[in-house]
Symmetry: C2
């Protein structure tokens, strides 16, 4: 048992290697996500847009009631999300996106994006919303706004025998670099404005 709050109560000690692996896995993308969350908070505070991260979907199996007023979940599992992580409204427009990051220097595998996330973004676009991915290239420390249309182009091409990843070169040429600053940290709405989507 791994207590994230720091005070330990080890019942089933886990070999250090597994433990480390697990921690790394659960922290993957945390910096990017918190950068986006800080940006969204800025948008909210400045009354620019209302965009939130959806809670992580969890399947609750057991609930305990140590007090009448308190439900303590004692067994639960992470579920695969059915949609993307972020959505909201900007200048009357519906906004929907997910964030991904890669250590690669050359390409991001399409396997990083769940098929149902791709299909979700596709229908958002079909219904007139603004759908995209934010991709963090950790090696270059660059964040790109990748329009849904380019994602779909690569994704749909796999069935026709196309490559299973999107090259960095495509980002350089067809995606949009998101400016990184102190506040807002990742001003992705500036890309939407520059594309005249709102």
């Amino acid at each position: 048992m791994y207590n994230i709050s720091g005070d330990t109560m080890i019942k089933h000690p886990i070999p250090k290697k597994t433990y480390k692996k697990a921690v790394n896995k659960s922290n993957m993308g945390m910096t990017l996500e918190s950068d986006i969350e800080a940006t969204n908070q800025y948008y909210l505070d400045m009354n620019i847009a209302v965009i939130y991260k959806k809670p992580t979907p969890i399947q609750v199996v057991n609930v305990n009631y140590p007090k009448r007023s308190m439900a303590k979940i004692t067994e639960a599992y992470y579920k695969t999300p059915s949609t993307t992580d972020f959505n909201g409204i900007y200048k009357g427009k519906y906004i929907d996106f997910d964030v991904k990051e890669t250590n690669s220097k050359t390409s991001i595998p399409l396997s990083n994006i769940h098929p149902h996330q791709v299909e979700h973004l596709r229908s958002v676009e079909a219904h007139g919303g603004i759908a995209f991915l934010i991709v963090h290239w950790k090696y270059y420390d660059e964040h790109y706004y990748l329009p849904c249309s380019i994602l779909l182009q690569y994704y749909d091409n796999v069935k026709k025998g196309g490559r299973k990843s999107i090259p960095y070169q495509t980002f350089k040429e067809n995606a949009y670099l998101i400016p990184f600053s102190l506040n807002p940290r990742l001003d992705y709405l500036s890309v939407i404005r520059s594309l005249s989507l709102v």
Copy 2:
């Protein structure tokens, strides 16, 4: 410990009364919510709109790794949601709402709606989205679409000494009855169309 999957593993037996109370509490609004979820599925299947329920926010405290590939949450708690439960896109418009139900014959207390939910709906409207509540009057078995503006009218009036609930009469006169049918079960988008909001 209460195992919702049916197979029991009672570690801390709970007096029957508390147990029942807990179950009732956690099931509160489940029928209404599942009616809305079935409706949203219908909208999705028919390619009418893309509207989802957000996952319930849960604060994870302890995670256990029985297998390398599996994270088992062993301690977690329900958190108060910061926004409403449902949002999505319909004909290019951002849609945002919450569902409430009441057993009362006469009025629904404003305390049923969290202040941050009200403020969230207020900013959605301010940014050009469609914000509302769906209220199920169980006694009458009627479902109403209550525009955000009416909710705000009552909510903002409390500070000026106004009543702390919205009367049923207001629903009869100023809200919109949502048709109930087999499929879609609660066609709330028909109200939005009839109000020419899209």
